[in-house]
């Protein structure tokens, strides 16, 4: 399966989807000019991955900022992972938030409420 590697910019996140090396990560800032165009390939990749996933998938979100339009697309990603979980796959979401960022922590809690999938919150300090 092909890997997706997108280097982050000041308005788009870093995205690594690498099944072979077991890296599934979205990090950084997300306010792309065209959210749909940015996230469509990612959602498409997940559809393909869902047909033959790894034994265990740990998906990491480590965002410092996302706009409301992105929040909707992040939910779409989480819902795909939820479907995989419902089909009996071992899925874990790790939601990283800066320790001093209550809003990002709360955003994680909200997603955890909406989707039914194992969800871990991890606070970290920016050094």
């Amino acid at each position: 399966m092909e890997t997706i590697k997108i280097m982050g910019t000041d308005d788009t996140p870093t995205v690594i989807l690498d099944a072979e090396n077991e890296i599934f990560e979205i990090s950084g800032r997300s306010l792309p000019e065209d959210v749909t165009a940015f996230y469509d390939p990612i959602l498409g990749w997940l559809d393909e991955y869902a047909s033959s996933p790894n034994k265990k998938t740990v998906f990491t979100f480590k965002l410092v900022y996302f706009n409301t339009a992105s929040s909707k697309l992040l939910l779409d990603i989480l819902m795909k992972l939820e479907q995989m979980h419902e089909s009996g796959n071992d899925i874990l979401i790790r939601w990283y938030y800066p320790e001093d960022d209550e809003d990002m922590q709360e955003a994680g809690e909200e997603y955890a409420d909406i989707v039914d999938v194992p969800f871990e919150q991890v606070g970290y300090t920016l050094s």
């Binding site: 306010l31 065209d34 706009n67 409301t68 909707k72 939910l75 960022d101 809003d103």
Partner: protein, 191 residues
């Protein structure tokens, strides 16, 4: 410009400057709101706030509110003679900074036919408390669809949540077909 006009213009520039100072306006723009403009304004304001050692949480709130306000204009603003798509997505955008608050203000033309729907949404958001806003955001994220222009219907809810205040808005009449819609968001500098 003849001499008299030059004089008038110079006075206008100086009055404009004084008026900006009086209202503590740090940024003002009128025109099309593009993605480039959004990036430029947010990064400019970010670096100003960092320079002034504004707290992280205030910086983040101002950033959030600015992005959503700018995107509202770029996605929803109408225009005079709205058949001309070239003029859609325009508006006025201002940031002002007082001793205790930041204000982010947007103004744009809106067709009368859309006012009812917009006021309904804004008034409804204003009836909700913190928990209600959270629930509405979650519902809208789950059930809402992205519009053609990439709007998720979440911007106003997010502004209300981030500022912790009611949405303050006004419609001023322009002509028989349109009004000028003004939205002012206030972010407190003291946490």
């Amino acid at each position: 410009m003849d001499k008299k006009n030059v004089r008038g213009f110079l006075e206008f520039v100086y009055d404009f400057y004084k008026s900006m100072k009086a209202h503590e306006i740090t940024l003002v723009y009128e025109g099309e709101i593009t993605h480039q403009i959004t990036k430029a304004f947010t990064s400019l304001t970010e670096s100003n706030m960092a320079k002034e050692e504004e707290s992280n949480s205030v910086q983040k709130k101002v950033f959030h509110v600015m992005v959503e306000c700018l995107q509202n204009i770029s996605k929803h603003a109408d225009s005079f003679g709205s058949d001309d798509f070239l003029f859609a997505g325009r508006g006025i955008f201002m940031v002002s900074k007082g001793d205790s608050e930041y204000h982010v203000t947007t103004g744009n033309v809106i067709e009368n036919t859309k006012i009812d729907e917009l006021s309904k949404i804004l008034d409804y958001i204003n009836t909700l408390d913190k928990e209600g806003l959270k629930q509405l955001y979650k519902t809208q994220m789950r059930e809402g669809r992205l519009s053609e222009k990439g709007g998720a219907g979440l911007g106003f809810i997010d502004i209300a949540r981030k500022t912790g205040r009611k949405l303050e808005y006004h419609f001023l009449p322009i002509d028989e077909e349109s009004h000028f819609f003004i939205l002012t968001s206030t972010i407190s500098r003291n946490e």
